[in-house]
Amino acid sequence: MDIQVSIQPEDFDIAELQAALLGGGAGEGAVATFTGYVRGSHAGQALEAMELEHYPGMTEKSITDIVQRAAKRWPVMSARVVHRVGRLAPGERIVWVGVASAHREAAFAACEFIMDYLKTSAPFWKKEFTGSGAHWVEERASDVQRRNRWS
C-alpha cells in the first residue's frame, strides 16, 4: 500500500496526482477520485474568500490514519490526499482524494470513506469572508451522519 498525504497552500495538478497513483504494473483497473472546490456562495450570500486553518502535524497524521483504515477495509493499491490551507477564492480546488484498486467497488468505497472521515475527523477549520464580514463555518450534522454509517 502506497499512501501519500500532503497539506499545502499551493494548488495541485490532478492529472499528475492521478498518474502518480498508478504503479506502472497495470494491476490497477480502477481509480476513483474526489475534488472539492470553494463554492461561490453560502446561505445565499456571495463568498469573497475562504481561509483554511489546520493543526500542522496532527492533520497529516490523522489523514494518514484514515487512509490506513480504508486500506484495511478494502483492497486499495494506492491512495493520495492533497488538502490546501490558507486563503482560497471561489472556484479554487480545496481537496483531492484519489484511490487506485483492482476493481471499482473498492476504489469508490475507500474514496468516499476517506472523504467522510476527513470532513469530520481531520483538524481543518474554514473561515468564510462575505460582504457582511467573516465567520467560521459550522460543522454539518449531515457530515457526522455520513461518517457514522461506516461504523
Binding site: H83, A122, P123, E138
Partner: protein
C-alpha cells in the same frame, strides 16, 4: 508539570491566544481538569468558550477524551468541531 497548550480557529480567536506553556502544581491532570483550570486561571474573562460542549481536545496530536491523562511534556490542543474537505 509543564504542558504545551495550543488553540485553533474560533477558540484561538476568542481566547486571543494560539499557544501557551502551562505549569501545573498537581502531578496528575486529565484533559477535563486541565481544561477547567485553563478556563478559570488563564482566561478568567473569556474562558467560558473553552468549556463549551462542542470543544474537542487532542493530546500529542491524537484526539482525546475528557478523562484521558495528561503527562509532563505533553502537547494538548483544544479546538472547535472540524470543517475541512
Amino acid at each position: 508539570m509543564a504542558v504545551r497548550i495550543v488553540f485553533f480557529a474560533s477558540l484561538r480567536e476568542q481566547l486571543a491566544c494560539s499557544s501557551l506553556d502551562w505549569e501545573g502544581r498537581s502531578p496528575q491532570e486529565t484533559v477535563a481538569s486541565l481544561r477547567e483550570k485553563l478556563a478559570r486561571e488563564q482566561f478568567p474573562e473569556s474562558g467560558a468558550v473553552l468549556l463549551a460542549d462542542t470543544v474537542l481536545a487532542a493530546v500529542n496530536q491524537v484526539m482525546a477524551q475528557p478523562e484521558q491523562a495528561v503527562a509532563d511534556g505533553d502537547e494538548v490542543a483544544f479546538f472547535p468541531p472540524v470543517t475541512g474537505g
